[in-house]
């Protein structure tokens, strides 16, 4: 991902939708707003909105009912959590361990620090 700046709009939309599913704003099985509604609300081209939403459809997080609309798939939240945990491991945990090794901390010391951090942050 060479872009460090602003992400393309369709990705931003997809992330917002994921966020809404994770937080429970869009419960599993419930209907989500239509592409038109997203496009009109965010002032984006309907094709762009469609592209963003299709990312979630192909990931199995949303499904379409012909003529009715789009719904949050059962198990979408768990799936997202799992995806995010994996990303968390790749992006944060590995980095953290590498830095700890650089500093010469052993596993016990690292665990202790993590526990301290866990209770410090509420």
């Amino acid at each position: 991902m060479p872009f460090q700046g602003e992400k393309p709009i369709f990705l931003q939309l997809a992330e917002q939708l994921e966020e809404a599913i994770l937080s429970g704003a869009y419960p599993e099985g419930s209907q989500v707003p239509s592409i038109t509604e997203y496009a009109a609300t965010y002032k984006i081209n309907p094709a762009t909105a469609n592209k963003g939403i299709n990312l979630l459809v192909s990931a199995g997080l949303l499904y379409k009912k012909r003529g009715i609309g789009m719904f949050v798939a059962e198990g979408a939240r768990a799936k997202l959590r799992q995806q995010r945990s994996e990303a968390f491991y790749q992006d944060y945990v590995k980095k953290l361990v590498r830095e700890a090794q650089n500093l010469g901390l052993d596993l016990d010391q690292l665990t202790e620090l993590i526990q301290r951090g866990y209770y410090d942050v509420h």
């Binding site: 872009f3 700046g5 709009i9 002032k43 309907p46």
Partner: protein, 289 residues
């Protein structure tokens, strides 16, 4: 189903307003027609609608030349900055007149939108303020239901709330009924996520004509210490560059590599920044060496 401009040229006195412009506007897109004042946007739209006659070239709508052709012209509706209504015509009668000329004009929708925008029906069109004159034309454009709707500076003099309302209504209309929309505007940042195809005019010629996404994927900005930036950009197509102290930012035509020299920051450009960079590049080229 498309509008085709075939090498259109138009001259006004010593000004070449359009110089061999060829374009195809396909069905089912929202086009952004961008350009500085005097770039030829209004002239282009006026020729499209047979209000002005080109010196050379012709315009086809769904394969038919527009010249004196009611069938072709009836598929277009141009919402322009200029007023073509009689001086003493009131808003309400203008709606009724539009409904008698355009069989698909939705009178009910027009009245509903007028209410939503707070447009008084009993006022004369010429007595409306700039903002309400714009609203009047937008209401027509959103109610006329022609396959092609052309908006020339649609939000002129409109406040933020009404601009927002217009874009929302336009997107709703566009996604409910397939049509082709062309928006010519100075306010690029407001439409950059709406237009899926961008046409940039400069001095009567086309600088760019491509899907907006494609344009945006082929340009980026690099910033960092001036020396490093200069080394990095040596073999690249620079559109524009700006320095702020020792920090230099350069916009580049092309795609960034995935492994960049450390210390350089790459960022995506907005359509507006890209537009400005293109203009600067064109100005540099025009300067006598």
């Amino acid at each position: 189903m498309s509008i085709e401009l075939q090498s259109i040229s138009k001259r006004f006195g010593s000004t070449q307003a359009l110089d061999q412009v060829s374009l195809t506007l396909e069905e089912g897109h929202i086009y952004g027609l961008l350009g500085n004042n005097g770039a030829g946007k209004t002239t282009l739209l006026s020729i499209l609608t047979d209000r002005l006659r080109p010196d050379f070239g012709q315009v086809l709508v769904d394969g038919q030349p527009v010249k004196n052709n009611d069938e072709a012209l009836g598929k277009l509706f141009l919402v322009g900055e200029q007023n073509f209504f009689p001086e003493d015509m009131k808003v309400k009668r203008a709606f009724e007149t539009a409904a008698s000329f355009y069989p698909d004009f939705d009178l009910e929708q027009a009245h509903k939108l007028a209410k939503e925008f707070g447009l008084p029906l009993k006022k004369k069109i010429t007595s409306l303020s700039t903002g309400y004159a714009s609203i009047f034309r937008l209401v027509l454009g959103l109610s006329v239901n022609t396959p092609y709707i052309l908006f020339d500076e649609p939000v002129l003099g409109l406040d933020a709330q009404h601009r927002d309302l217009f874009y929302r209504l336009l997107i709703e209309k566009y996604s409910q009924e397939p049509c082709t929309v062309i928006i010519s505007t100075h306010l690029i940042s407001e439409v950059e996520n709406i237009v899926d195809h961008t046409i940039i005019l400069r001095d009567g010629r086309i600088l760019r004509d491509a899907p907006t996404e494609e344009l945006m994927e082929n340009t980026y900005a690099v910033s960092g210490p001036a020396g490093m930036v200069d080394r990095y950009t040596e073999d690249k197509t620079i559109l524009s560059s700006h320095s702020l102290g020792g920090l230099k930012t350069v916009s580049i035509q092309g795609q960034p590599e995935s492994d960049l020299p450390l210390g350089l920051e790459v960022s995506r450009m907005s359509l507006q920044d890209y537009f400005i960079s293109l203009q600067e590049a064109a100005e540099r080229e025009e300067e006598p060496a």
